[in-house]
């Protein structure tokens, strides 16, 4: 089939990912320096992460532990022992001009992660995941400010030596949407494991390989199986500089369209590396006809092989989001949507379970999934931002559960005040006078409303049931809105029917 005759409908998109995840350890992978990258440039450095002559790496076992957790979460093979290699290349952000990484014995091999795309379950194969050190970062200054237009470039080594896990998937994705779903799931799993901080700038960096192949090259009914020859025959582009799952979807949708258009117009897709320009929303060519890179991998003799066979059993991992989602649906009879929302991060799920233990699980779901997350989202906040005040939220749910305030007041006044001006729920209730009015008071208001509105009473008695709404409104006015409208309705009917 020549390029000219191919119709868009006959084309299939094939995408594979290399995801670089910064592991959330206190110290760097080969030295004791802090991994805090918000400090002044070149503050968190030592002879080791600066690659000074004579300095030697010593493995931070915390990074290996995080890697083993990831391996268990993606059901990967973890070898008896793990070792490191040097990847040799020259770049100004690389202190030693080689990167310590893992080559033929990665800490995790042959794992997978299940994702849900438009209600359908898909399993993505993770070929390998290995540990390595992050290089430093470059800051281009003056001139045009770009990599090729700046007057000069500064190097910040604070990032150098931050532990990275490189996760390499099989070319299992057929659409940018699937990529996004996978990245969101991966991020969720990593957060559950406590090995990843999504808030940290540059904590997730994605390179994606995308190629377009004719549909009839797919060997079986299973869309995930693509013939290796077909893949090898198709030119692919590697898209770099993607830093979020949303960005990945956009970048790959752009690239998919660009390649399909080229093929439809009978033009060849060049094998090249392209750079995702987030601000312009396009990919631009970085290097075309790239020569095959030769990294001259060889063993890092300064780091003896580390036996990790027993670590698999000794290191435990928490319940993962997918399992927890299912359990929430069973145990608390929640909808899939509610269970999804409530397991979006470990903190949210933990908090939901705390609340659901004490109060009605449905009430807890409404409060955590809809009210709390909704209000937080509106304010561009995360649950982590109010971690120390979660007991106040629990207290608010308690006030509602025990009927001390109305659900409406709790949501619209108390919760919002808590988030906006930092008051506690009890303070808001007291200061705003939101405590539910006592029964006697309501009863008195009911009697008064009936006495004061003989016309409405007459209408009600003549069968106009709508008149009751007017009377409810009167009672609510008298009680300053603190009575429960349903209760008032009941009380009015009881009084009138006597």
């Amino acid at each position: 089939m020549t390029a000219q005759t191919v119709q868009q409908g006959d084309l299939v998109t094939v995408i594979g990912l290399e995801v670089h995840v910064q592991l959330e350890t206190d110290t760097k992978i080969f030295c004791g320096c802090s991994t805090d990258q918000t400090d002044e440039p070149n503050e968190n450095v030592c002879p080791v992460c600066l690659g000074l002559p004579g300095a030697l790496p010593v493995l931070n076992e915390g990074a290996v532990e995080a890697a083993v957790k990831i391996g268990k979460a993606i059901d990967a093979d973890i070898p008896e022992e793990t070792r490191f290699h040097r990847k040799n290349y020259y770049y100004p952000d690389l202190p030693k001009n080689f990167q310590i990484t893992q080559y033929d014995e990665p800490i995790c091999a042959d794992g997978d992660l299940e994702i849900s795309v438009e209600g359908e379950r898909r399993t993505v194969t993770i070929e390998r995941a290995h540990l390595e050190e992050d290089p430093g970062s470059l800051q281009h200054v003056g001139g045009g400010g770009g990599i090729d237009s700046a007057d000069y470039t500064l190097v910040n080594y604070n990032r150098a030596g931050t532990p990275l896990m490189e996760v390499v998937t099989a070319p299992d994705f057929r659409s940018p949407g699937e990529v996004r779903a996978f990245l969101a799931e991966l991020e969720e799993v990593l957060e559950y494991l406590g090995v990843f901080d999504a808030e940290r700038d540059g904590s997730l960096r994605i390179d994606a390989n995308l190629s377009i192949i004719p549909e009839d090259e797919i060997e079986s009914d299973d869309v995930t199986e693509i013939g290796e020859e077909a893949l090898a025959a198709a030119n692919r582009t590697e898209v770099k500089n993607i830093s979020s799952h949303k960005g990945a979807e956009k970048a790959l949708a752009y690239e998919e369209t660009r390649q399909k258009n080229a093929i439809q117009r009978g033009r060849a897709v060049e094998q090249e590396t392209r750079h995702w320009d987030e601000s312009r929303g396009i990919t631009v060519s970085m290097r075309s006809k790239e020569e095959e890179k030769d990294y001259r991998y060889f063993e890092e003799a300064d780091l003896p092989p580390l036996r990790v066979s027993h670590w698999k059993d000794e290191i435990s991992i928490p319940e993962l989001p997918s399992a927890r989602r299912e359990r929430f649906q069973d145990e608390y009879t929640l909808s899939e949507e509610a269970a999804s929302k409530l397991t979006s991060t470990k903190q949210v799920a933990d908090f939901y379970e705390d609340v659901a233990q004490e109060f009605d699980p449905d009430l807890a779901a409404t409060w955590v999934a809809d009210n709390l997350l909704g209000e937080l989202n509106y304010r561009d906040m995360e649950i982590t931002g109010i971690e120390s005040r979660l007991d106040e939220v629990t207290r608010l749910v308690e006030l509602v559960a025990t009927d001390e305030i109305t659900a409406k007041n709790a949501r619209e006044t108390v919760l919002r005040s808590m988030l906006d001006d930092g008051r506690t729920p009890d303070e808001v209730v007291a200061e705003e006078g939101l405590g539910k009015t006592g029964e006697d008071e309501v009863q008195q208001a009911v009697v008064e409303a009936i006495d004061e509105n003989p016309d409405a009473v007459a209408d009600y008695e003549s069968g106009d049931d709508g008149a009751i709404n007017f009377l409810v409104g009167q009672v609510m006015q008298k009680t300053g809105g603190s009575a429960d409208p349903g209760d008032v309705n009941q009380l009015l009917r009881a009084e009138l029917n006597d």
Binding site: L52, G54, L59, R86, P92, A301
Partner: protein, 437 residues
């Protein structure tokens, strides 16, 4: 010519009250030590004998330097060496050659030539060198002093500027075996900054205490392959020394190390491969001469120019060869094959040492070259390492002790003893017997 023993002769006083680490009553109090210039000294230039590092002043001490200071030693200077340890004559130093105090007009050996010369000339009581393929033992033999290459992992390499990092160790020089052993006592032992160090304390009180000269019942294996390429006069001197040990109660028999015929090739492939990576960091960003050639901000051209200007010929030769040996398509043919040969050499040594307590050979197959004699023929220079490099491939300890002088030219000849892993005491005991004549 001037002796040119030191590149930097700055003293770091052991009894300096400003030096908080120093212990006035330490085991090396009052003793002077010359330090090879590839061992990092905080605040004192560490050049590795290279123009590339002429201006480099480390902000930290190597672990062995901290231990020297704690032991109360006075460091008398940074000793000359072949550039980045690449050479057997100290002639590849960017700071000029060092003369051999024991044989003026001849090279002191290398690459730790300045360290050995400092002890031979009495400029220092003791010295530290490093040995990647013989760089302690060769100059010890050429200068007529004692040098110990410890088992890989006995002495921390933290702060030793790497050349062939899977092969090398820091080790001591002394005028006597006991002196060298006493320095080993100070520097040996595990270090949390070097993951390859092992906890292997001496069985006895100390390494120095092992210098008893007691060789009664000692069995010495003599690998015939290590005599084959040696000069006749060197071999004669060697047998005289063996006879001396025999007279003191030792026994000897011949053993075979068939794999050593491949050792020089394997050693150079591995050392050069590692060097090509270890020396990659010298790219002009933080070290190296300012390049005068206009490169218009092109990164590849800039670092290439700095490396062209900053490295000497021998270093460039080894980086190029090492890069080649690791490249796709050649990796299996060279690097991997060399690793296989290394495993074979280890196995041969294990077998030979199961039949003998120590193995003995001439340290160097030749007596010291005349200055300038070997520089033009790198291959000849590499072959002179035939007896020392197999020991580094096998990670084993070895000592070079003066065996006497060659009858032909009166130049120093060294005897090399090799022992099992962490068998330093055995070597010290045996070598010290040659001093009790």
């Amino acid at each position: 010519m001037a002796a040119n023993i030191f590149i930097t002769d700055e003293r770091i006083e052991g009894d300096d009250t400003e030096n908080e680490d120093a212990d006035a009553d330490g085991p090396l109090a009052g003793r002077t030590v010359a330090v090879k210039d590839n061992i990092s000294t905080k605040g004192v230039a560490t050049t590795c004998g290279s123009a590339m590092l002429e201006e480099y002043v480390p902000p930290y001490d190597a672990t062995v330097i901290s231990r020297l200071k704690e032991a109360g030693a006075t460091i008398v200077g940074k000793a000359n060496m072949d550039e980045f340890g690449m050479g057997s004559t100290t002639e590849t130093s960017a700071f000029g050659p060092t003369d051999n105090p024991a044989a003026p007009g001849h090279v002191p050996g290398g690459s730790s030539g300045g360290s050995a010369a400092a002890v031979a000339a009495g400029e220092a009581d003791l010295a530290l060198g490093s040995d990647t393929g013989g760089s302690i033992r060769c100059p010890a033999a050429f200068c007529g002093v004692v040098g110990i290459k410890p088992t890989y992992g006995l002495v921390s390499r933290y702060g030793l500027v790497a050349y062939g990092n899977s092969l090398e160790q820091i080790g001591p020089f002394g005028e006597t075996v006991e002196d060298a052993a006493a320095l080993l006592d100070v520097i040996a032992g595990p270090d949390e900054r070097d993951a390859t160090t092992r906890d292997a304390a001496p069985d006895g009180e100390s390494y120095a205490a092992a210098a008893t000269g007691d060789v009664d019942g000692l069995t010495i294996g003599v690998p015939t392959e290590l005599l084959e390429g040696a000069d006749e006069d060197v071999v004669d001197t060697f047998w005289d020394a063996i006879a001396d040990l025999e007279a003191q109660g030792a026994e000897y028999h011949e053993v075979s190390l068939p794999s050593v015929e491949h050792a020089v090739e394997a050693y150079y492939v591995i050392a050069m491969s590692e060097a090509s990576s270890n020396l990659a960091r010298f790219d002009g960003v933080r070290y190296g001469p300012e390049t005068e050639t206009e490169t218009e901000g092109n990164w590849n051209e800039t670092f290439s120019q700095v490396r062209k200007d900053g490295f000497g010929d021998e270093v460039k030769r080894r980086i190029l060869l090492g890069t080649y040996a690791l490249s796709a398509g050649y990796h299996d043919k060279y690097y991997k094959k060399a690793q296989d040969a290394r495993a074979w050499v280890k196995q041969d040594f294990d077998e030979a040492l199961s039949e003998a307590d120590v193995l003995a050979s001439p340290t160097m197959p030749v007596t010291p070259f005349e200055q300038g004699e070997s520089l033009d023929d790198p291959l000849q220079m590499y072959l002179a390492d035939a007896n020392t490099v197999p020991v580094n491939l096998a990670d084993l300890p070895a000592i070079s002790v003066p065996a006497g002088e060659s009858d032909a030219d009166g130049l120093p000849v060294g005897l090399q003893l090799v022992g099992p892993a962490f068998g330093e005491e055995r070597l010290i005991r045996a070598a010290s017997a040659l001093e009790f004549e």
